[in-house]
């Protein structure tokens, strides 16, 4: 059995207990004008190196930069695109977490102007010496997590965002990225203050636009719920990998047999939002069961969502357990 360990995206930014919280101090100092942008970037560079080292140490094969430079997964993308205005108020809850963000406002036509994530990906890739997965909040979720004050037809907005993210994806591919993940949590969970019922037709159309013409490996990632409400052609969407949450989306256990053999599965098995540690046996059994259910030898295994909801020590402990479980399932002595 060929099992790969990966992560969904974010990682806790606070240091291990007793260490100075350099990033928090640096951001505060930057806001007071006491250090330069380059100084802050240096601290972020160090943190990216540290987080990648921690993931590699836990046995993670496909790593991310832990979103070390981002306050959250939405606002840096919105800030980098034309058409969004960054709010100084409008602080709202991120799904059902006790985590909040300032909702970006759409105030003009959304257009891609220049690369947003490429430099950061290049840096992470340089220090990792292994593939680094870049994540982008997908077009449907990015719109549902924003406030539209410009477009009369929300569908037009979603498709403009999809075209803009496709341009970003192409820039990443041109820079050498080999694995790109689009996060679409709004397909399976309800963002605070989003008024409308889910529009899968629109989400699917936008997802296809976002990956149009790409040659690198693309993943469609959902978390905080299962895909039971999605139409049956969900797994026919043009992505090479489907990332599913088996913790908050128990229904995925029943649906995953429908995954076509030419699509890979990235299975979120470790609860990314509770500190209680999964047992090695239960994880290994779940991996084997998924392998049987989906009739495949090759699987990716991840936490159920980004790990930033956990304290740093607990996140590391979980990730080490994930690495152990993957080796155990693959038949390697632990």
């Amino acid at each position: 059995m060929n099992v790969t360990a990966s992560v969904v995206g974010s990682y806790p930014k606070p240091p291990h207990e007793g260490q100075p919280f350099r990033l928090r101090s640096a951001i505060a100092a930057r806001e007071r004008g006491e250090i330069s942008a380059a100084d802050l970037e240096g601290v972020q560079d160090d943190l990216v190196e540290e987080l990648i080292r921690e993931q590699v140490g836990a046995g993670i094969d496909l790593v991310t930069d832990g979103h070390a430079r981002w306050p959250d997964a939405q606002t840096p993308l919105a800030a980098g695109l034309e058409g969004f205005t960054m709010a100084h108020d409008d602080l709202i809850r991120y799904f059902d977490n006790n985590t909040y963000y300032r909702r970006p406002h759409v105030t003009g036509p959304v257009r891609w102007r220049q690369p947003i994530t490429v430099e950061a990906w290049r840096f992470a890739s340089g220090v990792a010496a292994r593939p680094v997965k870049q994540t982008l909040t997908g077009p449907y979720s990015l719109v549902k997590l924003s406030r539209n004050e410009y477009y009369e037809d929300e569908a037009e907005l979603v498709l403009d965002v999809a075209r803009a993210l496709n341009a970003e994806a192409r820039a990443l591919e041109a820079a050498g990225a080999t694995y790109l993940q689009f996060d679409e949590p709004a397909l399976v969970a309800h963002p605070s203050a989003a008024q409308h019922p889910k529009d899968f037709g629109l989400a699917f159309e936008a997802a296809a636009v976002a990956v149009d013409g790409l040659g690198l490996t693309t993943e469609l990632r959902t978390f905080f719920g299962g895909v039971e409400e999605a139409p049956e052609d969900f797994f026919a969407l043009p992505f090479g990998v489907f990332g599913l949450d088996f913790v908050d989306g128990a229904s995925n256990w029943d649906l995953v047999a429908g995954l076509p053999l030419d699509r890979r599965l990235s299975a979120g098995l470790l609860d990314g939002r509770t500190t209680a540690l999964e047992s090695l046996d239960s994880l290994r059994d779940q991996i084997r069961r998924l392998s049987e259910l989906t009739a495949r030898e090759r699987l990716e295994v991840t936490p159920s969502c980004g790990l930033e909801y956990l304290p740093r020590d607990r996140a590391q402990r979980k990730l080490c357990r994930l690495g152990e479980a993957v080796r155990a399932a693959a038949g390697v002595a632990v």
């Binding site: 207990e17 500190t275 930033e308």
Partner: protein, 315 residues
């Protein structure tokens, strides 16, 4: 006019808390400074003419961690991000939760001794304490919430026995999950049932529209909401279904440094008055003001006072 709860800690408290955390300041000296800061905030509110005061929570850190620290069964957790560059310590329940001794009663008594006007007792609700903690002990969320509810109920009764007439049980997490609204309501009912005081709750940053009008089932007399942060969108919900409690009307954004104008706050109060009678409105900031500076908080509170006076003169 009233207050949601927390007020900013002056610089000397922040320094003293950091020193005490490092073991460089005895607890008694920190407490003396916290009493001084409490006195200063009570005086400010008295002079401003706030009708129902708060002690400002000079002695509390996070609203959940503070209670977790004083209840048995919780361990201090590591830092997790709240928003932007702000982090909090998320407690971990590792054993049965119980209240070994009164938590807030002495502070309430002290604050009340400084003024003739009523001072609110401030508690965090059971659902929010549980939702903002990790649970490694209880087999279900329900058991966790109801166990914490018993502990908070004991504290609420102790405040009432001490003479506290207004008891606020904050449940900012209550509108997070529609499938747990009933559990949150049951938890709060454990706290407020038979309580001889006016009961209030504060809710924020949830999916209010989806939870409304079910939220009117919350067993309290007053529901306090953030109106300014959402540009008074919630009033549309009240048009669809009348708001039947006393409304705590949040009129300034607690998470923005911008000082609102008297006119925009007055306009907000007038919009609420179109739907709810003046006798059923308590005006306050959107949320606790602890993330603002002392000067920003005072400026925002002065604007609220002036706006209330402007609107009152029109009634």
């Amino acid at each position: 006019m009233t207050q949601v709860g927390s007020l900013p800690k002056p610089g000397y408290i922040l320094e003293a808390r950091a020193k005490a955390h490092r073991g460089e300041l005895p607890a008694a000296e920190l407490e003396e400074l916290e009493r001084r800061a409490t006195r200063e905030w009570i005086e400010f509110q008295d002079e401003l003419g706030v009708d129902i005061l708060v002690d400002g929570e000079m002695y509390r850190g996070d609203m959940v961690a503070y209670f977790a620290e004083h209840l048995t069964g919780f361990e201090e957790g590591g830092l997790v991000r709240a928003y932007g560059n702000r982090y909090y310590r998320k407690p971990i329940a590792t054993g049965p939760v119980a209240r070994p001794a009164p938590i807030t009663v002495d502070w309430w008594r002290y604050a009340q001794s400084l003024t003739q006007r009523p001072v609110k007792g401030m508690l965090t609700g059971p659902y929010t304490i549980c939702d903002w903690s990790f649970n490694e002990h209880y087999p279900s969320r329900e058991e966790f919430v109801l166990a914490v509810a018993e502990a908070i109920a004991e504290e609420a009764r102790a405040l009432a026995s001490a003479g506290c007439r207004y008891i606020q049980i904050d449940e900012p997490a209550v509108s997070t999950r529609m499938d747990e609204l009933d559990l949150a309501i049951r938890g709060l009912a454990v706290v407020t049932e038979g309580l001889e005081a006016t009961t209030l709750t504060h809710i924020c940053y949830g999916d209010f529209s989806r939870a409304y009008p079910k939220l009117l089932e919350l067993p309290v007399d007053v529901i306090d909401l953030e109106l300014a942060n959402s540009n008074y969108d919630l009033l549309d919900d009240f048009r669809r279904h009348p708001f039947t409690k006393v409304l705590g009307l949040g009129v300034v954004d607690s998470h923005s440094a911008r000082i609102e104008s008297v006119e925009e706050v007055a306009a907000g109060i007038r919009r609420a008055l179109e739907l709810i009678p003046a006798s059923s409105i308590q005006v306050d900031p959107d949320c606790g003001l602890k993330t603002r500076t002392v000067e920003e908080a005072k400026a925002k509170l002065r604007v609220i006072r002036q706006a209330i006076d402007v609107v009152r003169s029109e009634l």
